[in-house]
Symmetry: C2
Subunit: 243 residues, 2 copies
DNA sequence: TTGCACTTCAATGTATACACACTCGGCAAC
DNA sequence: GTTGCCGAGTGTGTATACATTGAAGTGCAA
């Protein structure tokens, strides 16, 4: 069987995930298999596979009496998920520093940092958020790889599958506020420092920096929730949040 | 639907997990749905649910062309899984210290430590491994809870579902060797220190201690693999290992 | 003898029918 | 009026038939 595109289970998984993330089905709402199967135009079998998978991803949760419901995330969940990402990326950075990284891969990381510099250096209004988000994701993906550990890489992948735990959770055009733009500058400084620490085999520094880097997301979260609560609907990462 | 015991999917999950963990199906071996369904006396539907779940647990992996195979773990995987557990339990301990733990829960933790003392204090030959393993698991479960974070608790639960990443991975009668008994004493000292650090709100100390505590498992792993390689078959946690 | 293509087969992916448990409404008894 | 029981209905859990694809083996041709 081809594991590529034209599978119903893939269609069901992507469709269902999108339905949940976009907020079309509300947190706490029970997910009816027949309704969803009809809506996504798949049979119940691949749909159930998608439900099980999303349960493991943490987006939905099993109901004791059977079936699933959209999970309702608290602010604490979001904060702790960000903290967890920081801890895991910190570990990746520390392991990279301790175990060493080959010159070519360090060069690749430096190239990514250079690209981020170029994106940020283009002047305030020329800033391409989408492009920054893309390259930022590259940085974080490569960081996970530099750890040299498949176990760590897998784990980071799992945790960051939750939208609000993603490294790019609060990078988007919608929330174009000076405070956010500044946070990108700070974040880029941290990127450089993390790379430097890895190059110089400073494990503890690399770990601390990566943790602090993740906290940037928490700062932005706090800012949105407290200063600009009206922006909540604009940030996709917060669609599942029930404060 | 009752989510309790008499469900075919439960039967399939437990049966399949046991089949993999016991080594009855060898690492790398392809898992045939029809064969397994017959063997476990369930239909393919609940079996497929179990397969999907075990894939998420990390015990088996999907084959590109379809189906699943028993995952083959390298020594690096085991080492990194232990490291990961240390990092996560370290985070749980740090959060417990930083955020504070209620007096009753601290008391409960102290009670567990007391039970471990009693088990270890009974003299060398009276040592009840099974009981120690049980109470040790209690300690680690409560530690995860003391973090006050469902996110962290879930994550620790996931990681420690792999047999060699479990806190009790190398505690068993089979490997009754002086070095192992000594490691229990050291481990218990670390238990006390972790509790003390949490009580005194010393986050960094609590984290460092919990990390080091996990490394005890790595020491025991190294000992088995290098000093007593003939014991490999005796330790259930190593059944999946392909050095 | 070797390589390619076709055929066949086996195993997974999908759809759907059936069985049973949980829920919710109504009715009766207290 | 409230509480408890009962029955219908909805929906998930399970089984199985069918579709589809990947792989292997065989035969023919170069």
């Amino acid at each position: 069987m081809e594991s590529g595109s034209p599978r119903q289970s893939t269609k069901a998984l992507l469709g269902l995930r999108d339905l949940v993330l976009s907020g079309e089905v509300e947190p706490g709402e029970r997910l009816s298999e027949v309704v969803l199967a009809t809506r996504l135009d798949v049979s119940r079998t691949p749909l159930r596979a998608a439900l099980q998978r999303l349960e493991q991803e943490g987006l939905i949760e099993a109901i004791p009496s059977g079936g699933f419901a959209v999970r309702r995330f608290s602010r604490a969940d979001v904060i702790d998920s960000i903290e967890l990402r920081g801890v895991l990326e910190g570990t990746a950075a520390r392991l990279a520093a301790e175990r060493g990284v080959s010159a070519p891969r360090l060069k690749a990381m430096a190239a990514i940092v250079g690209k981020l510099d170029a994106i940020l250096g283009g002047g305030p209004q020329a800033l391409d958020f989408e492009r920054y988000e893309e390259v930022n994701a590259e940085f974080h993906n490569l960081l996970a790889e530099l750890s040299g550990s498949d176990v760590i890489r897998r784990e980071i992948g799992r945790v960051t599958s939750l939208p609000f735990a993603s490294p790019s959770a609060f990078i988007n055009q919608q929330v174009d506020i000076p405070a956010f733009r500044q946070s990108l500058v700070v974040g880029q400084a941290q990127h450089k420092a993390i790379l430097s620490a890895i190059e110089q085999r400073e494990g503890a520094r690399a770990e601390a920096l990566a943790r602090e880097h993740a906290r940037l997301a928490r700062q932005n979260l706090d800012f949105v929730l407290e200063e600009k609560p009206d922006l909540r609907g604009q940030v996709p990462a917060l669609a599942l949040l029930a404060i």
